[in-house]
Each structure stands twice: as C-alpha cells, then as structure tokens.
C-alpha cells in the first residue's frame, strides 16, 4: 500500500467520522433545538475562563441560584402555552416579598413566641398577594379579552407601585431568623431547601401538564382557541388558570428569595420577565402558543443561571452581562427559526 493510498484511506475514514458527527449534530438540533449546543458551549467556555467553574460546589451553587428563575420560567411557560405571556412576573416577586415580609414581621412582633405561626402567616400573605396579581391578569385576559401584553404590563406597574408605596422603597426587616435559616439557607439531605421545593414543584407541574386534562387543555387552547371551544373546553377558565398558575409560581419564587435575602425588597425581580421568557424561548416554547415542554424549560432556566454564574466567575461586568443575556435571547429565537427552516429543508 503506497503512502498515497494510506492517506486516501485515512481521509476516507475521517470523512466518514465527520459525516457521522454531523449527522448526530443534525439529529440533536432537530430534536432538542439549540439548547444542548448552547449548554455545551457555555460549559466549555466558562471552564476555560475560570478553574472554579466546573467544581461540584459551584455547580450546586448554580442550581441553587437558578431555582428562582426556574420557578418563574415554569409559570411563564403556562402563559406562553396559551398564546400569551406575563410581563408582571417581576412585580409579583417584589410584591410577594414586601407583603410577606411585612406580615411576617408584624405577626412576629405581636407574638414573639409563635415563630412558626408568624412564618406561616407571612408566607400565606405573600403568596396571596402575588397570586392575586395573577388572578387579576387572568380575569382581564380571559373575561375582558384584554391583550396579555397590556394587561400584564399594567399590572406590573400597579404591583410595583404598591410595593414601593408600602415600604417607601426601604427594605422590610424584622422577620424571625428561622425563616431565612430554613427556606433560604437550610439544607435537607445535603440539598438546599429551595432546590428541594423546586424539584417537588417540577414534578407536580410535569404531572399536571402531561397527565391531566387541564394540562392538555392548556396546549389545545394555545394551539387553536376556536377548535378548543368547539371541543367543549372552557377556554376562559383555562386561560384564567394559566395566569393564576403563573402568578402563584412567581409568588413561591418571591417567598424563597425573601428568605434568602432575609429582608422584604421592592426592588427584586426587575429582570425576571425578560429572563423567564428567554428561558422558555431558548427551550423551544413557541411564542404562538400550543408548543413547549416543561423539562426543556427547566434546562433553559438552568442554562441562563449557568451563564450568569460563569460570567460572574469570569469577572464580566454586570452591565455587560445584561447585554449578553439580551443577545442570547435574540440568538435563541433566530436559531429556532433557522432550525425550522432546516427541518423543512432536510425532511427526507
């Protein structure tokens, strides 16, 4: 065998390998979208930029930090599935935090011995306040046919104004220390409590979306509301519930974040609308409604958490980080369009 031949054979096998890799690449792209690639790229880049990135501790950190966004993104997914979206998720976080902290502190001052009771009172008050925004959104959108854009934008202003008005812009102190110790910093079986709560909620929501009638109805209403109506589905109720779910999940995130911060803050959550929509879109949730998977959304939120963490470790300035996140969102949408075009093209 001459050198020339050997070269040719080698070329042949590399070409075969390249072809096979390309094929796998295509399969992944078609099936799961861009997210797996983005995840790999992010991990590689940040691992190169900072040696602390790929440590078990840091990764656990990423998971813990991402829980808040994961919860909000899952809520946002319900709104997106029905063909709308919710711009008030950030406000819900803030209002939950302020109302919850105020109620808890007041209860604790009144009954210094009843720690558990005051924590419960605070959490219930916060959750109720946050969910109430979702309820109002739901009523406006389902009953009065207000566009989700206007409705949630209006409620974002209303909620934020209320939170500022209640606190005068200063943080709310005076919650029992046990609250933060349990829901902010506590661990169970070596897992942070917020992570455990998030995992439990992921399981519940997965079940709701895939194994209950209601879950199916969200997809149907988002896919074609008229067809859903003619199939006997209560479309108003379904729309309403989507925004209530969204509000409730954002409220849970608000409570957990308050525990972590140990104060009630009106200034949290401002980036949540953008980030949660980005997480969903990167995960392949259709902006037109009717399409999207919960597990992908969880990965979408984790991905954004990963990027933020990596950028922090790499000491990228926080203002620049905002630029990167915005660019990522647009990149995700563009690449999804390219993917659709690509699917149409190969389809063979």
């Amino acid at each position: 065998m001459s050198d020339h031949d050997r070269m040719a054979v080698k070329n042949e096998t590399t070409r075969g390998l390249v072809a096979r890799v390309l094929y796998v690449f295509q399969l992944v792209l078609v099936r799961w979208g861009v997210l797996p690639f983005l995840l790999i790229i992010a991990v590689v880049v940040f691992a190169l930029l900072s040696e602390n990135f790929l440590t078990g501790r840091n990764l656990m950190n990423v998971v813990r930090q991402s829980t808040y966004l994961t919860l909000v993104s899952m809520g946002q997914m319900f709104a997106l599935l029905t063909g709308g979206f919710d711009l008030s998720v950030g406000t819900i976080l803030a209002l939950t935090s302020v109302v919850g902290a105020t109620a808890m502190a007041a209860a604790y001052t009144a009954m210094p011995d009843a720690v558990v009771l005051s924590i419960v009172i605070g959490m219930v008050a916060g959750a109720a306040a946050g969910t109430a925004i979702g309820v109002v959104n739901g009523i406006g959108i389902s009953l009065f046919n207000v566009s989700p854009f206007m409705m949630s934008l209006g409620m974002a202003s209303v909620g934020f104004g209320l939170a500022l008005y209640m606190t005068g812009g200063t943080p709310v102190y005076g919650m029992p220390i046990e609250f933060g110790d349990t829901f902010g910093f506590g661990t169970l079986l070596n897992l942070p409590v917020p992570v455990i709560i998030t995992i439990a909620l992921i399981a519940v929501l997965y079940f709701v979306l895939n194994w209950t009638r209601l879950g199916r109805y969200f997809y149907a209403v988002g896919g074609n509301i008229k067809a859903a109506r003619l199939s006997g589905i209560n479309t108003r109720l379904t729309l309403f519930l989507a925004y209530v779910f969204c509000g409730a999940l954002a409220a849970v995130a608000g409570i957990l974040l308050t525990a972590r911060l140990d104060t009630g803050e009106a200034n949290i959550g401002a980036t949540m609308p953008l980030l949660s929509i980005a997480a969903c879109v990167i995960a392949g949730v259709s902006l037109r409604g009717g399409v999207g998977r919960l597990e992908n959304v969880v990965f979408g939120a984790l991905f954004i958490g990963l990027v933020q963490n990596g950028m922090n470790l790499a000491r990228i300035e926080s203002y620049l980080q905002i630029v990167v996140i915005g660019a990522l969102l647009i990149f995700a949408v563009v690449s999804d369009q390219l993917r659709l075009r690509y699917i149409a093209k190969i389809s063979s």
Partner: protein
C-alpha cells in the same frame, strides 16, 4: 371591459409563448420528500397554454405538493421545471407571481383583520403620489368582484366571512392580475352550484385567452365540465395522463387501483322518536330568521341553500356558537338554549365545523390529542382529572385505522397531513363519546372519492344505529342521494321542506333561489 380587466393591470407576466406544440410548463422527474414519505416521486407533468389540466388522486397523493412546487411555495428535492422553454428555479411565491404563475391554495392565506379589498391588493397596492390610491383600489376591487359575480362587499372584514366567502376572496385574488399559469387547488370545495358556475365561466374565458390552468378537484362531474386532460397521481407517482372523456369508473380505478361502484350507499329509513326540535329560531342580524325544523332518530336530514343562506349559522346556533335572538332549541324534549358547548355535547349533540383549519383542529398538536380532545373528560380517557394515556393511544389508533388515516401515525402533528386526511381527523373527533345527534357542516370538503364513499358509509352506520344526522351541505348530490328529508334555506328563512320523491335537483335548486316560501 373584461378584456381590460384582464390585461389592464399586468404586473410582470412575460409574453405568452404561443407555439401550441411546445408546452407552457414542463416538469420532469419532480421529487419531494417529507419525513418518511415520498410526497412526489419523479413526477412528469406538462401544461399547454389554453388547456385545463386536472390533477386527480386520493387524499395525500401529492397534488397540493405538486402545485405548491409550481407556485414556488415548496422547493423540489429533484427534477426540473421548464417554463416557456426555459429552465426555472423558483425562489418563492412572489417570484412565481412575477412570472405570471398565480395560485389559489387549498389552505387560505388571507389576513383576517383586513378587509376584502385590502386582502385583494395586499402587496401590490396602487399608489398615487406615494399615498394609497383608495378610490382606484375600491373601483378595481368592485370590478373584480362583479366580474366574478361574487356577492361580497370590498369593505367587509375577512374575519367575519364564512369559509365559502373566504374561498371567493382567494379566487378573486388569483384573478386580480393576468396570469399565464393559473393554479386552482380545490377552489369549489365549499362553493355552491351558483358560484361554481360563475367560476367555470371565468375559467373558460381565460382559457380562450391562452392561459394554462392546473385544476385540482375531487368532483368527477367538474372534470367533465371543464377539464381537457387529466393527470392521475397515486402515492406520489404519476399513474397516467388521460383525456377528460375517460369514464368515471376508469378514473377511479386509476386513482385507487380498485373498482368502486357505488359512492352513495343505500340507507335504510326507519325513523324513531323526535330528537331535535327547533322553534322559530333567529340569530343576530337576521342571518337566520324564524326557522323551525325537527330531526328524528334514524333519519338523515339535509340542510341545503346557497352560500350566505344561513344554513351554516343555523347549525352553529344549535351548538350555542352563534347568539340566538329568539326561538328555542330542544334536544330529546329538553331545552338546550342556555347550555355551554360542553353541556350540549354531553347531552348528545355534536357539531363538526366546516373549516377544519380555523375551528376544527389544533394544527400544532398530534392526531391523538386532537381526536381525544372533546372526550377527554369522559371516563374513557380520564379518571378524576388524570389522563389514561394508554387507553387514549389504543383507542385513537383503532379509530384512525378504521377511518383509514394515511399515513397512520397518530403522534404526528395534524398540520403534516394532507387536506383530506385532516378531514378524517376532524370527523374522528365526534366518535369518541355517546352522541345521538350529529350536525355535519360540509363533511366531505376536499375529500377524495374513496374516502367520500367511506364517510358516507360512516354516516349511514351512524344513522342506521339509531342516531339522528343533520347534514349541512353545499354539495347537491350529497343532499340528493343521502338524505331522507331536506330543508332548503334562502336568505335566512326556510323556503321549503322536501321529503322522499320531492327531493330532486330541480326542486332543491328552485327553492334555493326563491325569495320566500310560497
């Protein structure tokens, strides 16, 4: 005048090649694949100027795919297109349009929030000094609609039009500019005789001017009326190209590979108790005015009338979709006037809408989810809110198989099926629960002969099993051969009730046009 309309506003459209021996359009070896499917497999096709070339074939045979390629909407994976003697690579629909290839697609492409006129001129609005020349546009759109004989107003919003009326707007769009190749994909699927006749007159006109026309239809009598040559497709392959004089039997044999003798089945008539009783029903705007009808078990009752006669609105009002302004509806003796769709359905009335894309199916979801959707709350598919997904998959597959869904892939999105197969998915939706009264609004829109026969058998079985059927249809043979009794509507009022021997073409048509019941 007509001449002016056709040639007065030529935007593009090169010179017509008038050598009659060389074809206007020549496709050779065209292939197109979809995942797991050869939608087109090396198909040859020629179109001469001044001929109506009919594409004929079962649902999913590849007809729409073929014309989409000619119209630039879909790219072929193999083969060549020659247009006026030159090799051609179409980039997009707009490109095809500038060459004078104009198409009416099976699925509409209208903007619902715009008016008829705005839709007609979308993308090529006439301007004067940089502003819209509204006077000119209004004049032109009125002219076009008048010439087509369509009863539409230019300022109507498309969202409020029925499927048939939207079809007319689509057709008007294609006739707006002068074309060299005109493509019509099942244009008459939801039109009645009158509009169809007008369309055919027009086709004859442009044909005599040398335009080549590709025409897709499932109706054999239309082929007789306007066709010159027929190309039969089966499973993505060209089976034959024959003259329009070929017998129906032969065409069906070419299309299906088997002989189908009888499209309309014999339906036994043994009426039972009265199930539906409608008294003096009226809807908003007088679209339906004081209509009283009744339907008994074991009976197929037809509801005939022209486009806009209110027959479809009547069906929708029964189901609580259109607001009633007067009258009452009783199902099995009980009033259903104030019930929700779900409650009406649970009492045994099911309405299958005419427009599968707008109201029938959730296109982005799977066949399985679509079919199970209306019955998801029954014990068949769920128990205390929780879905029984295995049972769902098994039952949907079984039903889809029974209706001969092609391809039989229930996890595919509904959007990926051909028009006729989507229609089967839609029909399947009403079979998943106990229904005693079926209201079908144009159940065979865009359905091939074989499937049509299957759907008729399906309706027969429902009827003979004791269900009541209200058949709203613009298809005259369907009304004539399938129903036991017919109500004819005209401008919102009932103009006749015909039964047994009175159900003749002449009678039905006469009452369709009649102003008021004598």
């Amino acid at each position: 005048m007509a001449q002016h309309l056709l040639h007065g506003h030529r935007d593009g459209g090169g010179e017509l090649p008038r050598h009659d021996n060389s074809p206007l359009l020549e496709l050779t070896g065209i292939s197109r694949y979809y995942p797991g499917i050869k939608a087109l497999d090396r198909v040859d096709f020629t179109l001469r100027s001044g001929e109506v070339h009919v594409l004929f074939g079962e649902n999913g045979a590849g007809k729409s795919t073929l014309i989409s390629i000619v119209a630039g909407a879909v790219k072929p994976h193999g083969g060549e297109i020659h247009f006026a003697g030159q090799s051609l690579q179409l980039a997009c629909v707009h490109h095809a349009r500038t060459l004078g290839i104009s198409a009416v697609f099976q699925e509409f492409s209208l903007v619902p929030d715009l008016t008829v006129e705005q839709n007609l001129f979308l993308g090529s609005e006439q301007t004067k000094n940089g502003l819209l020349d509204k006077k000119y546009l209004r004049k032109r759109s009125t002219q076009i609609l008048e010439r087509l004989g369509f009863a539409l107003r230019p300022d109507q919003r498309v969202a409020y039009l029925s499927r048939a009326e939207q079809q007319m707007v689509e057709i008007a769009k294609a006739f707006r500019t002068s074309a060299t190749v005109l493509i019509l994909d099942e244009p008459t699927a939801s039109l009645t005789e009158r509009e169809t006749e007008q369309l055919f007159d027009l086709i004859q006109q442009v044909k005599s001017q040398g335009v080549g026309i590709i025409y897709i239809t499932h109706r054999i009598n239309e082929i007789r009326q306007i066709g010159d040559r027929i190309t039969v497709l089966r499973d993505g392959q060209r089976v034959a190209t024959v003259s329009a004089q070929t017998s129906e039997r032969e065409l069906v044999r070419l299309m299906t590979g088997q002989v189908i003798d009888q499209i309309f089945p014999k339906i036994a008539f043994s009426p039972g108790e009265q199930l539906l009783e409608v008294n003096d029903l009226s809807t908003a705007g007088g679209i339906v005015a004081d209509v009283s009808i009744n339907v008994r078990r074991g009976e197929i009752v037809g509801l005939a009338g022209l486009v806009g006669s209110g027959k479809s609105e009547l069906g929708r009002a029964l189901f609580g979709l259109n607001e009633k302004t007067g009258g009452s509806v009783r199902l099995a003796g009980e009033s259903i006037d104030d019930l929700s769709v779900r409650q009406i359905m649970d009492r045994g009335l099911f309405y299958i809408p005419a427009d599968r894309r707008a109201e029938g199916l959730v296109m982005a979801r799977s066949v399985r989810e679509n079919i199970a959707l209306p019955a998801l709350h029954t014990r068949r598919f769920s128990k205390a809110m929780i879905l029984r997904r295995r049972a769902e998959a098994i039952q949907v597959r079984e039903l889809a198989g029974r209706l001969n869904l092609q391809p039989l892939r229930i996890e595919q999105d509904a959007a990926n099926f051909s028009g006729g197969n989507q229609q089967k998915i839609l029909l399947a939706k009403c079979l998943m629960q106990e229904i005693s009264l079926f209201v079908f609004d144009e159940p065979t829109v865009g359905v091939d002969v074989g499937t049509r026969a299957a759907i008729y058998e399906f309706i027969r079985d429902l009827c003979e099993a004791g269900a009541a059927v209200l058949l709203i249809s613009s298809d005259l043979p369907e009304i004539l051969y399938l129903t036991h009794r017919v109500y004819v509507m005209c401008r919102g009022v009932l103009s006749a009730e015909l039964s047994a021997n009175e159900i003749t073409q002449e009678n039905v048509l006469r009452h369709c046009f009649e102003q008021q019941a004598a």
